[in-house]
Symmetry: C2
Subunit: 110 residues, 2 copies
DNA sequence: AATCTTTATCGTAATATTGCAATCTGAAAA
DNA sequence: TTTTCAGATTGCAATATTACGATAAAGATT
């Protein structure tokens, strides 16, 4: 074994897991934060910003794109990447929801 | 190779990655959602709620606990687990922050 | 056309994760 | 004390992830 049993969980649970898993690596967190930092989203220099080889960065970008966390357009000789706001909002709503429900319940017994 | 190069990233980036990685599995999302659903946090039946064997569930619980997403107390013969509100709030704040900054910038060019 | 530049892909090695059977641990019940 | 029960730990097999050198692809530059 070793493969995740996704079929036993709900679509929503798998969706959240896919998003959080995609962010579950410091390089990918760093990429998202860099994309947030720069003003323009024409960013042909993500590789230079990270302490990783170009193929590794390319792979991380692909994973973020597959998960829907970033969007990418071919821009001549470079690639224009930027954060997909809607996806971040999904995560924001998810955690806000949990937070709110927990505060209302006050079941903090541990 | 194959090991994540955590030393090249900031503590904050690693911290976020640790939290999101811990949630990056549908079983662990399901555990958190179950802990949220039940009123009491004396929960000796998480294993029955999940389509996984007992050792697997125990391992997932351990990972959630290591990441600080849940807290656990020994309660006689059972274990009392519950969500750590503060950690969820950290995630909430993180994504709210990104969301807000993106909305202000309106750099949605892709 | 030949070259340069940037990003993607392939192949592969090292390491991590997932899942479970078997087993251990420790408190409660008999 | 012995049994029982819930949960943790161990050990292992299957699979996934991470990282990078080599190479390919494709538009830009000369």
């Amino acid at each position: 074994m070793g493969a995740t049993k996704t079929e036993h969980f709900t679509d929503k649970q798998n969706a959240i897991a896919t998003l959080t898993k995609a962010l579950g690596h410091p390089a990918r967190v760093a990429i998202v934060e860099y994309l947030m930092k720069v003003d323009t989203c024409i960013c042909g220099d993500i590789v230079n910003e990270l302490p990783l080889a170009q193929p590794t960065v390319s792979q991380h970008l692909k994973e973020l794109k597959n998960a829907g966390l970033i969007k990418g357009n071919i821009e001549g000789n470079a690639i224009c990447y930027c954060i997909d706001e809607k996806t971040i909002e999904k995560l924001q709503n998810y955690f806000t929801n949990i937070s709110t429900k927990l505060t209302n319940k006050k079941n903090d017994c541990c």
